[in-house]
Amino acid sequence: MKPARFDYYDPTSVDEVLALLQQYGDEAKLLAGGQSLIPILNMRLAKPAVLIDLNRVAGLAYIRELDSQLQIGALTRHAEVERSPLIATRQPLLAETVRQIGHSQIRNRGTIGGSLAHADPAAELPAVMVALDGTFCLRGPSGVREVPAGEFFLMYFTTCIRPDEILTEVRVPVLPPRTGYAFLELSRRHGDFALAGVACTLTLAADGTMADCRLGLTGVSMTPVRATAAEARLQEGRPEPGLFAEAAGLVRAAVAPESDVHGSAEYRRHLAGVLTERALATALQRASVLLETEQLETEGGREG
C-alpha cells in the first residue's frame, strides 16, 4: 500500500494554489491534513497526477469572531478547534462535535476545511454545518463566493467546490442565548464512521417556549440532512418528550440511508430517530439550565 507517483507542489499562498489549479485543473488534488486522502492514495484508489499540499500556505489557520459569526480558516486543525476557548464559549456544539472526530492523532493533523471538502457521508462536521446554516467561503480565479451549507454538499464525497476553487474559510453563527445543543452519534467503536449522528440546537424563548430548533443528521444519506419537517413541527409545539418523539418520526421519514456491513438501512433510519430524541432531550436540558440562570440573573438584577 504505497502511493502511486505524483508531482508535488507546496505553495505558500492562496494565489499560488489558484495558479496551480488553473494549470492542472482536474488532474490536481489538494492535500490538507491528509487523514482521508492519504489512505486512499496508499490504497491507490486515488492516483492524482498532481498533489498540491496546502500545509505551507500562510494565513489559512485561524479562529476569530466577527459580527456574531465565527470564522474558521480552512487549514485549522481539529485539535485547535477542540482547544479553542472561543469555540468552547461561543459555539460549544462545534467543540462537542470535534471531540468526536476520529482519535487524537487524527485530530492533530486533520483540518476543518479538509474534512468538510472531503464530504464523507458519515462525517460529523457536515451535520453541524447544515444544522447551523454555516457558510463556506470558496476562492476562485474570479474572487470569493459564499455558499450556504445547504447548497454545499451534492453527493457522497462531492461538493460544489469547482476544480479551480479552494475552500478558504467556514463560518458558523455563535450560539444564541438560551440555546442548548447536542451532538450525538453512534458508531460501532469510538472514533469510527457514524452509523448515524445528530447535531441539534434548541433555543428557548424567555418564557420557556420553543423559539428555534435545528437538526442536522449524518450517516443516513448521501449528504448531510437538515431535518426541516421535524424542525417545523418542533417550532410549533411545547418542548417535551411527546413532541420529540413526533420529531423523531419525521426525521425517520426524511432520511434515506443505505445498508452496509455495519448496519441495515432500516436500522440506521431507526437510529436517526432514537438519536434525535436523545439529542433533543440533552439540548432541552442544557437550554433549560441557561434559561434558569438567565432568570436568576434577571431576578438578582431586579433585587440588586
Binding site: 488534488k29 486522502l37 486512499i40 490504497m43 491507490r44 484508489l45 486515488a46 492516483k47 492524482p48 472531503h118 464530504a119 457521508p121 458519515a122 453527493m155 457522497y156 464525497f157 462531492t158 464512521f193 448521501m222 443505505e258 445498508s259 452496509d260 456491513v261 455495519h262
Partner: protein, 156 residues
C-alpha cells in the same frame, strides 16, 4: 447487489425500446462513457471513465444487449437485459440489468432489476457507499435516457 426500481418514460413503449437499443443513446446516457464501438450484433466495446471525488478510474469492457423479447402486442411487457462487463485497475464492475417495459397509455413504465457485481479494491474499501453510488448511476442513466426521449419526441 440487487438494485431495483421503476422509471417512467414520457412516450410510448415502441419509442423507448428503440431508444434503449440505440448505441449512441447508450453512450450518451451512461455516465462517464467515453467510447462505445459496435462489436457484433447488440455488442459494444466500451470505455467508461467514472469516479467519485479523488477516486477515479477508467474501465474498459463490453456492453451487450441480450434476451430481447419484444412482443407485438403492447399489452405484454417487452424485456431486455443489458450486460456490462468492465474492468480497470481499481477493480471490475459486472452488471446484468434486466429491464421490463410496459405500455401505460401515453407513458411507458420501466421496471429494472439490476444485479451489480463490484470487485477488487473499490468493492473492498468502498462498501459503505457502493449501493448508493450504483443507485445514483442507474438513476442518472435513466434520467438521461428520459431526456433523450423528450428531445426525440420534440424533434419528431
Amino acid at each position: 447487489m440487487q438494485v431495483t426500481g421503476d422509471f417512467q418514460f414520457e412516450g410510448p413503449r415502441l419509442s423507448v425500446w428503440a431508444l434503449l437499443n440505440d448505441p449512441i443513446v447508450l453512450a450518451r446516457c451512461t455516465p462517464g462513457c467515453e467510447e462505445l464501438t459496435p462489436d457484433g450484433p447488440d455488442r459494444y466495446q466500451a470505455t467508461v471513465k467514472i469516479g467519485l471525488a479523488a477516486v477515479k478510474g477508467t474501465y474498459t469492457g463490453v456492453f451487450r444487449i441480450a434476451d430481447k423479447q419484444e412482443p407485438a402486442s403492447t399489452t405484454q411487457p417487452a424485456t431486455m437485459t443489458l450486460q456490462i462487463e468492465m474492468s480497470g485497475s481499481s477493480g471490475f464492475v459486472n452488471v446484468a440489468g434486466r429491464m421490463e417495459l410496459a405500455d401505460n397509455g401515453p407513458v411507458t413504465r420501466l421496471h429494472y432489476d439490476w444485479d451489480v457485481q463490484v470487485g477488487g479494491p473499490i468493492a473492498m474499501v468502498g462498501q459503505r457507499v457502493l449501493a448508493g453510488v450504483a443507485r445514483w448511476i442507474i438513476g442518472d442513466f435513466f434520467g438521461a435516457a428520459g431526456k433523450e426521449l423528450a428531445a426525440r419526441q420534440q424533434a419528431g
